[in-house]
Structure formats: structure tokens, C-alpha cells
């Protein structure tokens, strides 16, 4: 069913009893041309673009849990394209362009809201770095504005501008096209659109092994039986290391836990996305009124999807340092997601040493905003066996070749990006 004002009106007249499921729930077939492991945003987007851009029809997406239950539903929903290094800049901008047309493309409202993002600077040196970043962005045709303290104060009046502020606000780099999207809707929208193009989305189907013969993948073992495939794409986020180990691969990746928080809902307080420059902290307000915020990793290897109290304290201390009024709010929910931290902070989309097995991972904190372009480029890579020009720098071999994309300049440390 195509969603429109007409379909909504018709459903209303029949008491909303005739809505059909948004995607099919098929039994797995014995084999597929392409199997995508991981039914998160990236896996579903990959399947969608495989079908839409490349005409591949015989595709399965295998999800161990349910659609929207992993990192796609656990992030803080921020979308931006303010990257500076190598292939990152154009890749994330292409993602932004896809976001801008995504609701129409998928016929599903992903509630993309370009409310603008402020990256705050707290010292002259930090402003110099932000201006440099802004210049690189503008050279690549991406919108970026450098704002001084007065302009920031005018637009974000509730931050701490007092003389006793722990980290004085000097200015900000502003990207007006950045914003947020409804993260569940992204998974649902891609799932529905992919299913409509014939993709089999198989939930509650965990991959337990990879069939590899003579250095070539021939299929996957799952909790719902063996599924044959010539081409297999891994898009399993925090479980990249775990699944790659089934192919005998050690990746330049560690899995870490990252926590997110939502406060009780309040009236509109924060109109934009704000990234604190003094500590790792970011905040926005959802359409329901809850403030959505997040901070740093807990800092140790984890697959647990739950974190510990020191990271909670660190995040909330950052919130109050930035915006003292927040100390009166209650936290409604907090949760953890497992992120695959690569050794340079940039993603991997490319081939592995196993023929026919491709990896899409290492997204660190930044996977959500990349969802459309990641699917777009991974689909291209799976079909052609070589990367799209936008993901040409995201190879697995770059670490061995010394051409890492180290956006933060933090060196080979998985928990420092």
C-alpha cells in the first residue's frame, strides 16, 4: 500500500482496522544471490539500494532480533556532514543529500528535521580548528558558518555564558542543514521499501557460522537453517568482530558500549542540535519534548548493551556544565548500544580476504547519519566487487597500508575516537 493523504483518509473512514503489515515476514529460502547479515539501518538500506539501483531481486536480510532493536533504535538520532578528512567529507555529504529526499524516496516519513547543529568552541585554538574544518566543508560545497559568541548566545540563550562557566563559549561552527531524524522510522521505512522490491527480511534468524570453501563464501549457517549465497555482506555493527571471527578474521575493531539518555518531556527548550566542544557531549530535543543526550564510551570492551555509572556521571556533568538549568530535569530512560570502534575512527566498507564476503562496519559513534550513503555504497561494492568512489578510502587494508582516516588524530586507539 502506498502511503498518502488519501490512504490515511480511507483508513480513518474504516476505523483504522485495515492497515496491513509494512513488510512481509517470509520463511527463508534455501539460497539467495545476496545475503545481508544484520537488519539494522545499514543492512536494510543496502538491500534497498541493491534492489532499486542495481536491479538485484534475490536478496535476504538476516536479523538476529527484530527490526529496529539494535543500534538503529539506540542512537541519539543526529545527522550532520561536518567531516574533514579524506573520503569522509564527500561520503557524509552524499548521505546528507540522500537524507534530504529520503521520506519521499521511501514513501515513509522519517521525520528528518534540518534544525541545524552547533559545534561549540571553548578556546581560540579550538575555534581555529573549527574554522579550518568549516573551510574544508565549504570547499566541498557543504554549508558551514562560523559564529562568534554573541551570535551563539542569541540563538542558544540558555547555555552557561556566566563568568564562572567552567568552559567559556567562544563561538561555534554551525551547519544549518544538519539535524535529526526519527531513527526507528528509518529502519521501518527501509524495511518496508526493500520488502516492496522483493527483499526477504528474516527476523529472529541469528547467523551461527559462515560456510567458506577454498577461500570463498558459499553460504551461512543460521538458527533457522543453512542459507546459500555467493555474496554475503556483513552489516552487524557492534558484532562485526564476533561475526568476522567466524571467518577467521581479526579486525582492526573493538566493541565498546555507548550510553544514551532521554529526560522527561518538557516544552521546547533546545531548538537545534548542540555538540559541546569541551567534553564529548551532544544534546537535542525530540518532537515529544524529551531531551536526547549522549556522551563518551564507557571505555572497555563490551557486548553487553548496558553501561556503568561513571559514564552516566560524566555525561550528566557535561550536560549541567553546558546548560545549568538541566540539573532540575529527571532522566526518564537510559540505555546502552554496542558500537564497533575502528582503530582510526572511520568506517570500513569493502572486501575481506574471503572471496564473496564483504564488510560494512567500524562505524564508531557515527553510523546513524551514514545510513543512506552506507547502504548506497555497500550495495555498489557488493554488485561490482569493488568500491564506489565515495567509499574507495574505507578499505580494510588501509590500516596495514598506513593510510588511515584519523579524523581526530588520536592514533591507533579504538576507544579514543
Amino acid at each position: 500500500m502506498r502511503y498518502s493523504l488519501f490512504s490515511l483518509g480511507r483508513a480513518a473512514l474504516t476505523g483504522h482496522r485495515k492497515w496491513t503489515p509494512a513488510w512481509r515476514d517470509p520463511e527463508p529460502a534455501r539460497s539467495y544471490d545476496v545475503v545481508i547479515i544484520g537488519g539494522g539501518g545499514h543492512g536494510l538500506a543496502t538491500a534497498y539500494y541493491l534492489a532499486r539501483n542495481h536491479g538485484v531481486r534475490n536478496i535476504a536480510v538476516l536479523e538476529k532480533g527484530y527490526i529496529g532493536g539494535g543500534n538503529t533504535g539506540r542512537n541519539t538520532t543526529i545527522v550532520r556532514s561536518n567531516y574533514m578528512v579524506g573520503g569522509n567529507t564527500d561520503f557524509y555529504e552524499w548521505s546528507m543529500k540522500l537524507w534530504e529526499g529520503l521520506s519521499q524516496d521511501l514513501n515513509f516519513n522519517v521525520m528528518f528535521s534540518q534544525r541545524g547543529q552547533f559545534h561549540l568552541g571553548h578556546s581560540d585554538a579550538q575555534m581555529d580548528a573549527l574554522i579550518r574544518r568549516g573551510n574544508v566543508m565549504r570547499e566541498h560545497g557543504i554549508d558551514a558558518e562560523c559564529l562568534d559568541r554573541n551570535e551563539v548566545r542569541h540563538r542558544l540563550p540558555d547555555l552557561d555564558y556566566s563568568a564562572s562557566a567552567r568552559f567559556p563559549i567562544v563561538g561555534a561552527l554551525y551547519q544549518g542543514r544538519a539535524g535529526t531524524a526519527r531513527h526507528d522510522a528509518v529502519a521501518w521505512g527501509y524495511a518496508r521499501a526493500a520488502s516492496g522490491l522483493g527483499v526477504d527480511i528474516i527476523q529472529n534468524c541469528e547467523v551461527t557460522g559462515l560456510d567458506i570453501h577454498g577461500g570463498r563464501i558459499t553460504g551461512v549457517e543460521t538458527t533457522r537453517g543453512r542459507i546459500g549465497a555467493d555474496t554475503v555482506g556483513l552489516a552487524v555493527a557492534g558484532n562485526s568482530g564476533h561475526v568476522a571471527a567466524m571467518a577467521g578474521l581479526d579486525l582492526p575493531i573493538e566493541s565498546h558500549v555507548l550510553q544514551g539518555f532521554v529526560t522527561e518531556p518538557i516544552k521546547p527548550l533546545i531548538d537545534h542540535v548542540i555538540s559541546f566542544g569541551a567534553a564529548h557531549f551532544y544534546i537535542s530535543q525530540s518532537d515529544k519534548g524529551g531531551l536526547v543526550l549522549g556522551g563518551d564510551l564507557d571505555g572497555y570492551n563490551s557486548y553487553a548493551q548496558r553501561g556503568n555509572l561513571p559514564a552516566v556521571r560524566h555525561t550528566l556533568a557535561s550536560a549541567v556544565a553546558l546548560m545549568p538549568a538541566l540539573s532540575r530535569l529527571r532522566i526518564l530512560r537510559h540505555w546502552g548500544g554496542v558500537v564497533d570502534m575502528s582503530m582510526d575512527g572511520s568506517p570500513i566498507i569493502g572486501a575481506t580476504p574471503v572471496e564473496g564476503l564483504y564488510l560494512n562496519g567500524g562505524w564508531c559513534y557515527g553510523g546513524f547519519k551514514a545510513t543512506p550513503a552506507s547502504g548506497w555504497c555497500f550495495a555498489h561494492t557488493l554488485v561490482h566487487g569493488r568500491p564506489h568512489k565515495l567509499n574507495a578510502d574505507f578499505t580494510l587494508e588501509r590500516f596495514e597500508q598506513g593510510i588511515q582516516l584519523d579524523e581526530k588524530g588520536a592514533g591507533p586507539a579504538p576507544n579514543a575516537h
Binding site: 568482530g241 571471527a245 581479526d250 563490551s302 561513571p310 590500516f399 596495514e400 579504538p414
Partner: protein, 103 residues
């Protein structure tokens, strides 16, 4: 809250400790010319979903480096011992690493 039982100080909150990462990594000899060995040491990690051997330094206590076995699925700690020649599975002493990190 995770608690690590330091063999010297007793059970302490993990906030007293600094995480030192994967203890299975083997540092090649200083004169090892093989780039693949250095790549494995610098970049790749075992990253298991399950038991993980890892270093923690008790920075707000005795300052000793510990070798801890912890389950990455539930954060349960099975064992914590001083890192070094006495580590039960003969994991190499991190002394060289420690000096490097603080130099």
C-alpha cells in the same frame, strides 16, 4: 558498577582503574622487520564476545597493572591477578608497555 578485586587493595570500583586493553596482543621483538606482525600488534584485536583477557592499572590505588579475565557479555569478572611473569597463563609482562605509555 563493576568491581575489580585488586590482589593488593581488595575489591574496588572500576572507576579507580585505567583500562589497558587486550592482554592477548603480543608485541613483536624490537628488531622484528615483519610489517604484518607489527600490523597485528598495533591494529588488530581479538575482540571476543565472551571471556576477554585485558589489562587494568589501579591508578587510584596501588598503581599495579592487573591482568583481568572479564566476560564482555555481562561484565562478570572471573579473575584478576598482577600482570607479569606470575600471570597464570604466562601472558607477557606489560612492563615494557607501561614504561612506554608513561614516558
Amino acid at each position: 558498577m563493576m568491581r575489580i578485586t585488586c590482589p593488593f587493595c581488595g575489591p574496588r570500583d572500576h572507576a579507580e582503574f585505567l583500562y589497558g586493553g587486550d592482554a592477548w596482543r603480543q608485541r613483536p621483538a624490537e628488531d622484528d622487520p615483519d610489517p604484518a606482525a607489527w600490523y597485528r600488534y598495533v591494529f588488530t584485536r581479538s575482540n571476543p564476545r565472551g571471556a576477554h583477557r585485558e589489562y587494568w592499572q589501579h591508578v587510584h590505588g596501588c598503581r599495579m597493572w592487573l591482568c583481568v579475565t572479564r566476560d564482555t557479555r555481562d561484565h562478570g569478572i572471573a579473575e584478576a591477578a598482577f600482570a607479569g611473569p606470575d600471570t597464570s597463563d604466562n601472558t607477557p609482562a606489560p612492563a615494557a608497555r607501561t614504561e612506554e605509555e608513561h614516558s
